[in-house]
Amino acid sequence: MVNIPVLRSITEANALLAEALRARFGQQDVLVLNIIASPGAGKTTLLERTIEKLNGELRLSVIEGDPTTSLDSERIAAAGVPVVQINTDGGCHLEARMIQAAVEQLDVEDADVVIIENVGNLLCPTGWDLGEDAKVVVASLPEGDDKPLKYPMAFATAQAVVINKVDLEPYLPAKASVLRKNALQINPDLAVFEVSALTGQGLEGWVDWMREKLAEKREF
């Protein structure tokens, strides 16, 4: 019997590739956001509204992750920004190698912000670094205000939480204030935005945060 020491991370290949992507995005002064949420939380609608808000001010590009279909990338293309669709063919999350392939199809150097819409899933995507500057969780009120309690890892590793569909609050037992409190309990530094992507309520704060993040990145 011979013992062979290994001492390596199983996901080392992903981590190394993510770091290489981060370095590349850094050289090109591009802010990269990794949007994580459950299916139906309103990620794509939030992106559509964000594109409208920043139209003519910042150049956005989008990488769309879905198990199947190009439905989301068609919506983003219709909103008028460059988009690449990744189909994971059933896979539950995006990985750095998929982002590397996607950025070959985008003129990243011509973008100010690249937004990656991860596969709708609050669990698996949090474990995979994509080379992003920040993870952003979108949590919609109809899902319930207890999501930070059930999926702490997503909220613990994010820099911002967008609470979506707050226009429905009068009709729901869930409260935006409770969701906010639950999220801040495990991550006090989170920037929290209460929005309705559908009505446009509260979007200015979210868009301002993106502007600030980009400015911060370009200072260095």
Binding site: L7, I10, A13, M153, P188
Partner: protein, 135 residues
């Protein structure tokens, strides 16, 4: 469901390090917040390792506790008395206690990984293919 691809990556890593020798044991560390379920890994491993030099190997899992570090002074929070609690409860408790330096600016810095620590192999190659690899 990502355990299937994680298990394949783990198996590939083991076979690479074994260099054609039969693997009998694989020692792994799984963080409390790694999103990896050892029972799933075992299940997929049995299937994926069939016909490889790792077939029949025993997987040993060691759990790595959640580590919270103070961003202001760099100290790690002592959570040894809370190790068996739910991950979220551990994080909330760490933030509530704060750091010795007075800061409550703590972040999760460990217990999120999945690592291969070591392998045990039979010194003599046992299959024809392995012997070919040796040469």
């Amino acid at each position: 469901m990502h355990e299937a691809s994680v298990t394949q990556a783990m198996l590939d890593m083991a076979l690479e390090h074994a260099q054609g020798q039969r693997i009998t044991d694989i020692h792994l560390q799984v963080g409390r917040m790694s999103l990896v379920v050892p029972e799933c890994v075992e299940f997929y491993f049995e299937y994926l390792s069939k016909g490889t030099l790792a077939e029949g190997a025993t997987l040993h899992f060691e759990t790595v506790p959640i580590e919270m570090t103070c961003l202001d002074c760099g100290r790690q929070a002592d959570l040894s008395d809370w190790e068996d609690e739910q991950p979220r409860a551990i994080m909330v408790e760490a933030l509530a206690r704060g750091c010795q330096c007075g800061s409550s600016n703590l972040r999760i810095t460990g217990g999120t990984g999945f690592h291969m620590i070591s392998l045990e192999v039979d010194a003599a190659p046992t299959t024809k293919k392995a012997k070919e690899n040796e040469q």
